[in-house]
Symmetry: C2
Subunit: 633 residues, 2 copies
């Protein structure tokens, strides 16, 4: 059975993405049901009604706050490999994480002051560095990390569900892919209009987390904190190395991803925008810090351990509240918030992709807005990449963590160096302070990025470190290509279209309706029409010549013999001869094609027309016309 | 690691087939290296130099004889589930198999007498039945079984290798797919020219088998047959049921597949062809019978059992000769012969596919002969299907056996009923005898086919029994479609092409070289040219209009505004208006397209041109021309 599930996963992942892409681009009716009525381009600007900061806080924090559900867990998982004695180290590690959070929030507040219209790392780097490199590294790193965010968040969401319902476990990957597809649909519909609705699950999850932590403390003060064994604090466990400590820290820092969302979204705040955004950052920082340290403390004090198919959050909740209604509520809030985190990433990815594509560093197709104004190609690319990661890592959060967060911290660092540049250049009020903050931030985030790369390298980070430079090089190659085209296509003044003489060649396979139709069209274009027939042996050619003269030879017929059964070769030879004879004429090939009524009938006809068309367009300076003949049956 | 191997298998299977298809159809140079220089159609007939029957015997028997390596084994595997006491039953079961082999060979000799030019089950059924059903069932069943033959033979070949080198086991599926790809290449090259070379491995394998059996008997007569425990004969083991006995018989009968090869190949024999073919059949029948009973006897007498990753042939060889050179020689001969069996199936499948396609029951693409005169599409379809089976059943021969041989016996039966029909109608010398033989044959093969379907049903035969009718229905639908087209495309006498007036519409995206090039071409066709620009907002349209008049308005410009960012909708509206206005004119859309130098640059340009082209051809009676502009960089 498991065997078939694996097949289903693949089929689901690969084909569903293709099917969605196809249906979204092709079928009006399916599209309307799933994606909704098309929106006018003009509706783009009127959509955002500005948000009060207290509502903006939960809406913009799903990505950051949801990661508390797996951050401390993955730190503790690293420490657990050293045994019980090492577990107390999660407390100092969490404190270090909170310190880093503070630094990052301060740095991002500097970013808001400098770029109140929303400046991501890419915009900041582009604005402050002369070379394109830093901006491209920042954007590529972020795009890669967004893909990982979706994979990690959805895997963590599925692990929450599996903790509550262990018999779902064999279908984990399958369900995770299902969630990705659901998010694709939601994002193709566009979510901005219902944004306020998205506040409630996050508020619910924050309350849940604070409720767990509060219950733990009240219980602890009433009945004493250590119920079973006395946990050992301050002992340096055997086998502890700096590397392992830093590895645990790196893993715990996965709780800090998503911090950039608010700074990218300053324009959605109600006035005074800057002030409200900063307020939101500070409030979110305080709530996240309390949650992180409280959660880690309770995990440690209750001796929670690594258990397969049961997350630490689920274990702790089960310990405090049993497996009743409260447990269910908390698990489902965790699930929804993690899905929301993935959802907000869809927005971030497709928007960043479009910004970079608009600058010519990524394929222009990413700029295409779908019917509901979302960047549909970006959404689909993200879903496809995230699905592959989920399948490849079997939806295991802890397997994905080593790849995660490097990109984010790399782009954090680049943004900070960009701001340092800016303060030195622009100066302005309190610039010394701002410079100092960003300098500290830059040093620390760079250090963290380096620590991540080293400690997680063998665990999977090498994949990111290999893909990132390839990504950047591709972006540069794309940009070069677009620039070359602009130069090459430029019209010199005075050049205007002058009518060229045309020689039309109609390819025929016999004497029938389709050929008649195409010849009627060709004769309407101008006087010079040649019909060309390609035969594989002498009998076929002889028969064709007879039928042609029986038909009354409506134009000159040239029969070519193809000894090797290729259509391209004899035609290419004929065209070469014609080109040499009459240089000023443009050659024009007409290919009759009948269009069947049912799509699967297309499989039943030799696709010579398609092959010929592609080959001639690629190799010769020849116009190729397809003249359709619509079958009735 | 195993995890990555699984990925590799998928990637290998799916992409390699696609890549080979693509490269074979597109790249001249790769193709020449791998597939060889193209052959002329005329070389088709001169290739076969006729074969002496003693050489023809090994060449045409790889498929039948190779299956002795897994037939008795799969029968014994079924019996082994009842314990040691049931093993002696392999002897009567093998005798029944040999009896069936005799009947089949006799029946096939009747086939040769009736159709000396090579008549497969399809040709016999087509010739003797009025309805198309029997012929279609026969061909579909054979095609499905050919796919299974490739999967089973290659899996068995890999199991031989794994028996000798157990550490290859994790890569079994991967290597099996590799073998399929190798066979694709060999068959695209064409194998007929080197056919004589193919005789030697089969001769070698026959000698190996006879050597094992002979050694066993000599040893047995010298030292007594029962070395360890006395095997029990004649005891009815506990739990034995008719169903299980028949199941073991069905599995053992997988040794009889491939028997049809000689009757299909009568024309390759040296004169007197009929007599030589019959001689070959009788000789092959004797050799195969001796091998089957000898091999089964030794398996039984030595108490050989089911062992994972060690075939019974390998166990027996190891027992007699140790693991030295003789063992290696035998294993490698087994491997090569099984690969040859798969190879001969490639020939059979693609030829049968082409014969059925020529009658219009399968897509015409199967008639396409590649550069080396093999039916390349048939070869690739077979390889793709067999690869999927190998991956799905993880290259386990015993898992594939239940699906196997039903198709062959079904088509055997149909052929025999066809011959009965023929004898009753045509009569001729000794027709009573011939009729009698085929009637007995028909009854027995039908009974066997029914036994197979029942006993193997739950083990996997249901898959074949579901796919077969679907296959037949598809064939009929295909045939109906081709016939409808012939009727619909027929030209009534007196209809000749009459020049139609044409209105050309050039789609433009700006003012640049590509547009200039296309307009020059359009103006050469006739006087009526309109340029159409589609803008997403008013500014874009305004700017375009200005640039157009700056350029000197080379023709009339129509600007359409697309509120919903679709290109098709505004164009379709314009065309509807034009069609209503001037019915007699044919509308002609020209799409400028620049052709980049590097293939990957194609990914960087919006594929609006392609989408537009497909949509308009599908939905409107409009000629669509692509005018290429070749970039220099």
């Amino acid at each position: 059975m498991i065997h078939w599930v694996k097949w289903l996963e693949w089929a689901f992942g690969v084909f569903a993405v293709a099917a969605i892409w196809y249906s979204v681009h092709n079928f009006k009716s399916i599209k309307k049901i799933l994606v909704g009525r098309p929106l006018r381009t003009a509706e783009l600007k009127s959509q955002h009604t500005k948000l009060v900061w207290l509502i903006a806080l939960p809406i913009l924090s799903a990505d950051l706050y949801s990661s508390v559900s797996y951050g401390p867990e993955s730190g503790l998982t690293e420490l657990a490999s050293l045994g019980e004695d090492a577990k107390w180290l999660i407390i100092p590690i969490t404190l270090a994480t909170i310190f880093l959070l503070g630094i990052l929030i301060l740095s991002y507040i500097m970013g808001i002051l400098a770029y109140p219209n929303g400046g991501g790392a890419y915009a900041i780097a582009k604005d402050n560095f002369k070379t394109k490199w830093p901006a491209l590294i920042a954007s590529s790193a972020l795009l890669i990390d967004y893909i990982l965010t979706v994979a990690v968040s959805i895997s963590a969401a599925m692990e929450a569900i599996v903790s509550a319902y262990p018999n779902v476990e064999p279908y984990e990957t399958l369900l995770a892919i299902g969630c990705v597809l659901l998010l694709v649909l939601i994002n193709l519909r566009g979510v901005a209009e219902s944004a306020r609705v998205l506040a409630w699950p996050t508020i619910g999850f924050i309350i849940c987390m604070l409720f767990i932590i509060g219950t733990g403390f009240i219980d602890g003060f009433k009945e004493g904190f250590t119920k079973s064994t006395t946990p050992s604090i301050g002992i340096i466990p055997e086998g502890l190395s700096t590397l392992l400590l830093l590895k645990a820290f790196s893993s715990a820092c996965s709780a800090l991803t998503g911090i950039e969302t608010i700074s990218n979204s300053v324009p959605v705040f109600r006035a005074p925008q800057k002030k409200n955004a900063i307020k939101t950052y500070i409030a979110l920082g305080i709530i996240t810090s309390i949650t992180l340290i409280g959660f880690s403390f309770h995990l440690f004090i209750n001796g929670i351990s690594v258990k397969p198919h049961n997350t630490m959050l689920s274990q702790l909740t089960g310990l405090y509240f049993g497996n009743g209604l409260i447990y269910q509520v908390i698990i489902w809030f965790t699930f929804i918030v993690l899905i929301l985190a993935a959802n907000s990433t869809f927005n971030g990815f497709s928007q960043l992709g479009a910004i970079v594509a608009a600058d010519g560093f990524l394929p222009r197709a990413l700029l295409h807005r779908g019917d509901r104004l979302g960047y549909s190609n970006g959404i689909i690319v993200l879903a496809a990449c995230a699905s592959l990661l989920i399948i490849g890592f079997k939806a295991h959060t802890n397997a994905l963590i080593p790849l995660y967060a490097i990109g984010v911290f790399l782009s954090f660092s680049i943004a900070q160096f960009g701001l340092i540049h800016r303060w030195l250049k622009v100066k302005g009020t309190h610039w010394h302070w701002k410079l100092a903050i960003n300098t500290v931030g830059a040093i620390i985030t760079t250090a963290v990025a380096i620590i991540f790369s080293i400690t997680k390298f063998s665990g999977g980070a090498w994949i990111v470190l290999v893909i990132l430079p390839i990504f950047v090089l591709c972006s540069l190659a794309i940009h070069r290509h677009y620039e070359e085209i602009v130069v090459e296509l430029k019209l010199e003044p005075g050049i205007v279209p002058v009518a060229r003489k045309v020689l039309s060649i109609v390819l025929i396979s016999g004497v029938h309706q389709v050929v008649n139709h195409t010849l009627s069209f060709a004769k309407g274009l101008n006087g010079d029409v040649i019909a060309v027939y390609i035969g594989f042996d002498d009998e076929a050619i002889h028969e064709m010549e007879e039928r042609w003269s029986e038909w009354g030879s409506p134009c000159r017929l040239v029969c070519l013999k193809s000894k090797y059964r290729s259509l391209i070769e004899p035609l290419a030879r004929l065209i070469k001869v014609l080109e040499e004879k009459q240089e000023e004429r443009m050659i024009h090939i007409l290919i009759p094609q009948f269009i069947p009524v049912k799509w699967w009938h297309n499989l039943l006809h030799n696709h010579s027309a398609l092959v010929l068309r592609v080959w001639f367009l690629q190799h010769k300076d020849i116009a190729v016309t397809t003249v359709p003949y619509h079958l009735k049956k």
